[in-house]
């Protein structure tokens, strides 16, 4: 075991973090008052921390800027007013005032999100998919593109078009083809969901391993960092 460091603010924080971690890990033994206390402390401290960070890094520095040079930073006053109007949400008689801020907030957010999704994801991804196979590409690129096309079409047919029943010989043949393609798409969905679930389980394991490593290394100093 390594020597213990001197008691500092960081050391106290480590002990508090270790206690919180143990409270949460006690749920592995079964749900108890300790684990519920840990969850409550976690939720409360997360909200409190977010509020403190917002004040410390968002609001207060801008107040200082306005106070230091109001003429240069006057636009910040507009945002302050909009922020204060949000507080009117809690007053029944003046709650309409907060609609101004909320309208601005949602309007800007929606405009940026929609525009970004269109020009930053949809168009570039469609362009990349169309140009996935160039004439000079090798066999693997062609195979990849083929699998991509098969999977995309299969998943779409599985969800939307497998219910079609064609009329006539050609229609029935098309219906059979779509049905078979849809079943292939279902297999792709299963594989994708399985891979996603496995990745999520790995992420949870990584989080658990990190907390145990924290207990062993940073708290108990059983091994060197």
């Amino acid at each position: 075991m390594l020597p213990w460091p001197a008691v500092t603010a960081e050391g106290v924080g480590t002990w508090i973090a270790a206690a919180m971690t143990l409270l949460m890990l006690s749920a592995a033994w079964g749900e108890s008052r300790a684990s519920r206390l840990g969850m409550a402390l976690l939720a409360g401290s997360a909200v409190g921390y977010a509020a403190a960070v917002a004040w410390h890094t968002v609001v207060w520095p801008r107040i200082l800027l306005v106070r230091a040079d109001p003429l240069a930073h006057w636009p910040l006053l507009v945002w302050f007013v909009l922020g204060v109007l949000l507080l009117a949400r809690g007053l029944s008689s003046a709650s309409w005032l907060s609609s101004i801020s909320l309208g601005y907030l949602f309007g800007v957010g929606a405009a940026l999100a929609v525009g970004g999704a269109l020009m930053g994801t949809l168009v570039p991804q469609v362009r990349a998919a169309v140009g996935a196979v160039a004439p000079g590409d090798g066999g693997w690129a062609v195979a990849n593109a083929l699998i991509l096309a098969l999977a995309t079409g299969g998943v779409l047919f599985r969800f939307a078009y497998t219910g079609w029943s064609g009329k006539g010989a050609l229609g029935k043949a098309w219906a059979r083809l779509v049905g078979a393609w849809g079943k292939l798409g279902y297999l792709f969905i299963l594989v994708a969901m399985g891979a996603l679930m496995a990745a999520i389980a790995l992420m949870a394991l990584a989080l658990l391993a990190a907390r145990l490593e924290f207990l062993a290394v940073d708290w108990l100093h059983l091994v060197a960092p």
Binding site: Y49, H56, T57, Q125, L196, L205, E213, A216
Partner: protein
């Protein structure tokens, strides 16, 4: 409007149950109880409210069986004519005698009315226009509570039967109980054992290094591209690192962040840390401390600065793209204005930076940067994401919007292979490997257990 026969509350047309007392509102033809006024559904033998034998009551009273009457709110065509001809509604005429309290009360109510209706009533006439039928249907039941009514013979017989049954000692008959189904989940004991085994599997590689578990993973091309993109930058170039994740994914993403910061500070680049998640500011501090400990030549404020949380999601990214010092006006650690930090010297809009590293908690956070900065302005972006988002980020790398991707602990371990002297993530990877093997073994064992149980149940069913 439908008036409840129980409490008189006016309910909306089409209501099936009273909004006030919950009583069923009979809208079709119904049989009124001559005793309490309850409108019973057609074919009802006993009144649903007071228990009166309706058929017998009507036989004894009017000498004819109870006839369904239209609902209060939906009088049938011709009912007005019948009322006018007979003077009173049919259900009132079927009351046993004029001594009936119900009939007497209704007549008193009607007699209390003034004007023409009263005169008509005195003359034995009836005016449905003057006195609509709804209040008449609603009044009687409200006027008479059940407790004030004498018990019917049926009620008396039922009370005697109940008393005799209650007096008898209850003897439970032996019943053939079916075998209770075995619960699917495990009991508390086995569950605790499995939890303890999993915790041990994750903890042991940390305490006792085991070489096979710490074998270096293969390096994916996406990781190689990320390392190369950083190596190509000239020393002293500013790099924006976005810590857009929180504690929920820190186990998977913190090693990635540390790997990136180790290379950035080791290469002599200036690191500007920001976050669009409140918790990202403190996670950035932790990664910065480790990087500074590994590279003593780097100084906080000169080589690295943490500008903290920038609120606004997409708007925050846009604001940073327009001007980093304006969007993040203060150093999160020291509180000093960001314009005074040496690491920010000459730094303006993020869109003009040579590289942006985004450590995103999921694909949504990553896309925020790709859509607001990388694609519109052509800024080179590297991504560090948790394991599940690694696959989802791949199309963006294939389209050229991402220069490189490092996903999860495995990605961090692969990344650190390409850097000399940094092997911290291999320990985390060893824990993850043993834990994953343990989890897989549990899944297989649980499936085998269920399969064996299913086979036994089938065999038992076949023998039975």
């Amino acid at each position: 409007m439908i008036f409840c026969p129980g409490c008189g509350t006016a309910n909306r047309e089409g209501s099936r149950f009273c909004n006030e007392c919950g009583m069923r509102l009979v809208q079709e033809a119904s049989v009124p109880c001559p005793r309490c006024g309850m409108l019973n559904p057609p074919g009802t033998a006993h009144c649903q409210k007071c228990g009166l034998d309706l058929a017998r009551a009507h036989d004894q009273g009017a000498g004819q069986p109870a006839q369904p009457v239209p609902a209060a709110s939906q009088p049938e065509e011709g009912s007005d004519v019948a009322l006018r001809d007979e003077g009173l509604p049919p259900w009132l005429d079927t009351a046993e005698s004029t001594d009936d309290p119900l009939r007497r009360e209704v007549l008193e109510d009607l007699a209390s009315l003034e004007g023409e209706p009263r005169e008509r009533l005195a003359a034995g006439g009836w005016s449905p226009e003057a006195i609509p039928i709804e209040p008449i249907v609603g009044v009687p039941y409200r006027a008479y509570e059940r407790s004030q009514l004498p018990p019917t013979p049926e009620q008396e017989r039922a009370a005697e039967l109940f008393a005799s049954l209650a007096a008898q000692a209850v003897q439970a008959e032996p019943r053939q109980m079916s075998e209770p189904r075995r619960p699917i989940g495990l009991g508390a004991g086995p569950r605790r054992v499995l939890n303890a085994a999993l915790l041990l599997a994750l903890l042991v590689p940390t305490l006792l290094p085991f070489a096979p578990l710490q074998a270096a993973p293969p390096v994916p091309p996406a990781v190689t591209d990320a390392v190369r993109a950083i190596d190509e930058l000239p020393p002293g170039a500013p790099v924006l690192v976005a810590f857009d994740y929180d504690a929920a994914v820190a186990g998977d993403l913190q090693p990635v962040a540390e790997a990136f910061l180790q290379q950035l500070t080791g290469h002599g680049l200036r690191v500007i840390a920001v976050s669009t998640q409140p918790e990202g500011a403190s996670l950035a501090d932790m990664a910065i401390d480790r990087a500074l400990a590994a590279h003593p030549e780097a100084r906080y404020g000169q080589s690295v600065v943490n500008l903290g949380y920038v609120a606004g999601d997409e708007a925050a990214v846009r604001a940073l793209s327009a001007s980093v010092p304006l969007a993040a006006p203060a150093d999160c650690r020291t509180g000093a204005p960001s314009s005074t930090a040496l690491a920010l010297e000459g730094v303006g809009p993020a869109r003009e930076l040579p590289l942006v590293v985004v450590l995103a908690r999921d694909l949504v956070a990553l896309r925020r940067w790709l859509e607001q900065t990388a694609t519109p302005y052509g800024v080179p972006v590297l991504a560090g994401v948790p394991t599940p988002a690694g696959l989802a980020a791949e199309p963006y790398r294939a389209s050229g919007q991402l220069r490189g991707v490092v996903a999860g602990v495995a990605g961090a371990a692969a990344y650190q292979q390409l850097q000399a002297g940094h092997r911290h993530s291999l320990r985390s990877l060893a824990s993850l490997r043993l834990g994953a093997w343990m989890l897989a073994a549990m899944v297989v064992a649980a499936n085998l257990w269920a399969l064996v149980g299913w086979a036994r149940a089938r065999r038992a069913a076949g023998e039975g």
